[in-house]
Point group: C2
């Protein structure tokens, strides 16, 4: 694991005691100079207070100085009071660091429907400020965890004509312990010198190709947020389309690693299903097919049960709404062709797949026809651990 960090960022973590006493549940990322910002938010109509405040900041300013994250309380479904509390936490940091409140981007995750414990915030902020420069990106990745089994962070380096830039990211996974909902929070930091317009465009495409192509249970939370800061501290500019493409490819790799870790660590997940749909009439058909298969409870339980159940895959394709001719469909799992010409290929498939299906990563290749449409999706399986995690009574 590359422990490099983009230049010009400092990190702080602290314990606010929001849920588990003593655990570091506050993280602060500060850029030494104003950084180009980017923000991507949940499409859920119920948006948490920090999502509403973050959207406003991204809309109104093109640069920012800091990201403030807490776990333990989602500050979702908390109304006007929640929004006022969110603003107060930002004001506390702004005042300590002599920044404007609008330069700080907020994110929260945790129990929904409860108000932020403002007394604990006021007590914890001085500790958080004191810690600035002492924590690492890994500490931040640990502080933003809720029920994640391991911290998720990654680094990419890109050589451009002006020198090397570094991209780093941290994410928290799908913690679905009641009454939390699947919430992903991610930070992407770079010392590249890029205008906000370019930075946002590159990141938007990378998010579409990575984070928007994973599913644990198809539920979208009130709090999903991804922030990006590019502060130019490397003094290396992203020059022209060719270099933009290089950075975008590195963002794809970086976010791809984080997205994979989210599915791998999805609560109750034992498998990562790599679904690839090709030959669809269009990209939209390919996506429909991939998502229907990736969300099918019957396919997910079959993968959990290590069962090469092509019938369920085919049935999910058939109800997906994607337009295709059944006669052209081919399905392969872990490299073994299971279905072609509307029929199972071979009675030996089960024997051939017994061993590959024991692996964590399963490749599912689906060809719908001869069209250009293609889509990839990472999906988790569905087993007893999922039920255990999600049927437990809230505590």
């Amino acid at each position: 694991m590359d422990s490099a960090s983009p230049q010009g960022f400092i990190f702080g973590t602290a314990s606010g005691g929001f849920k588990t006493p003593g655990r570091r549940d506050l993280a602060l990322v500060v850029s030494e100079v104003p950084a180009a910002t980017a923000g991507f938010f949940t499409s859920n109509l119920f948006k948490a207070a920090p999502v509403l405040a973050g959207m406003e900041r991204i809309r109104e300013r093109r640069t920012g100085r800091a990201i403030l994250v807490n776990t333990g309380q989602a500050n979702a479904c908390t109304g006007e009071e929640g929004l006022a509390n969110c603003r107060e936490t930002l004001a506390l940091i702004a005042s300590a660091l002599h920044l404007e409140e609008g330069e700080i981007l907020p994110a929260s995750t945790g129990v929904i429907g409860q108000h932020l414990l403002m007394d604990r915030w006021r007590a914890a902020v001085p500790e958080l400020i004191r810690d600035l420069g002492r924590s690492s990106l890994k500490d931040v990745a640990e502080a933003i965890m809720t029920t994640d089994a391991f911290p998720k962070y990654a680094v990419e380096r890109v050589a451009l004509s002006g020198g090397e830039i570094i991209l780093a990211g941290a994410a928290k996974g799908a913690g679905m312990i009641c009454p939390n909902m699947a919430t992903t929070l991610s930070l992407v930091l770079s010392d590249a010198a890029a205008a906000a317009g370019i930075w946002r465009r590159m990141l938007a495409r990378a998010v579409r190709r990575t984070f928007n192509r994973v599913t644990v249970d198809g539920d979208t939370s009130t709090n999903d947020t991804l922030y990006g800061l590019a502060n130019g501290a490397s003094r290396v500019p992203v020059r022209g389309k060719a270099e933009e493409r290089l950075v975008e490819e590195a963002l794809d790799r970086l976010l791809g690693k984080l997205a994979y870790m989210l599915v791998q660590d999805g609560e109750g997940a034992s498998k990562v299903l790599h679904i690839r749909v090709r030959g669809a009439a269009g990209a939209r058909d390919a996506e429909k097919a991939a998502r229907t298969v990736g969300h099918s409870q019957l396919v997910k339980t079959a993968m959990y049960g290590q069962d090469a159940n092509w019938g369920r895959i085919v049935a999910a394709l058939g109800r997906s709404g994607a337009a295709f001719s059944p006669a052209e469909v081919r399905v392969s799992l872990c490299g073994v062709e299971l279905f072609r010409n509307e029929r199972p290929v071979s009675p030996e498939a089960d024997a051939l797949l017994a061993k590959p299906l024991q692996e964590r990563d399963l490749e599912l290749d689906i060809v719908l026809g001869g069209g250009p449409g293609e889509y990839r999706l990472l999906a988790s399986d569905l087993g007893h651990e999922y039920v255990d995690v999600n049927a437990g009574y809230r505590s």
Copy 2:
């Protein structure tokens, strides 16, 4: 349980030994006179051979004489040979009863991807014919079971100006033992005298209001079929719109009972969630909201865990694609209001719901706003039994 049967129908059952030796897995319903037919089929692009043959018959003829059902083999994903086998089974019956092959409607359920065992069919048909008139509708309901825990049948009587008519129905539930898929098969019989046009129209509306509003896991099989026969043996006609409405209301009750039994007996289901969405901008928005909640793994596991987890319900509404204003949303579970004005209503809700959530039937009422759109959906929960049933290796 009303054991009345519509006049002019006789029933036969037999053991073909298709899967479990000795078990009655063949059922035949014969109308003594030509009956108006109706047929409703899976929307899955992969349609089983009996679905293709049944669709053809419903399209080309308005009357029919018999319905032939087998369990143990779905005859799905079996190509041209599967279709030829299906036709041969119909020809065997037609020849024995001096009917035309086209007058018999086929339905199959069971293991997909395997061909019908034609030798066993040929051996079993004489037994099936001999049994005609000896079996009851209940025997038919038992013969078409796969992994259903109990036979599903119901009867309704309707007093019309010309006398009484009887409606009777039998259904098999969502048997999802690998590699079967959720397959529903249903028969609706009546001795009413109704033209095929009216019969089909009445039944179509009743199916839309009942069978199309249940979900166990959101998967649609290759074999879903509902056939209706109205043979006029009561000599009681359905006169005018008012009587049509009476019959349609009885069909709603009949199919409603069968649909409820399907969810109640959904494999691995311990709860029946009665979802009612009101106040949506339109019926389409209400349906989107109801289906997203009913299919949400997080909502289903919470119901299994007897957890009044309004956050998951609200989050599902927010991602459903239904248009609404979050500030107007209200959510009640088992008569206890949980969410209003974008906030939880009361900290006592959990205590109030502890007992009601132990019941099998849970009422979930959702108000999206002040619009006219309304939708009802029955959904099952998701627990360990579902995983056990669906992750087990095929045998």
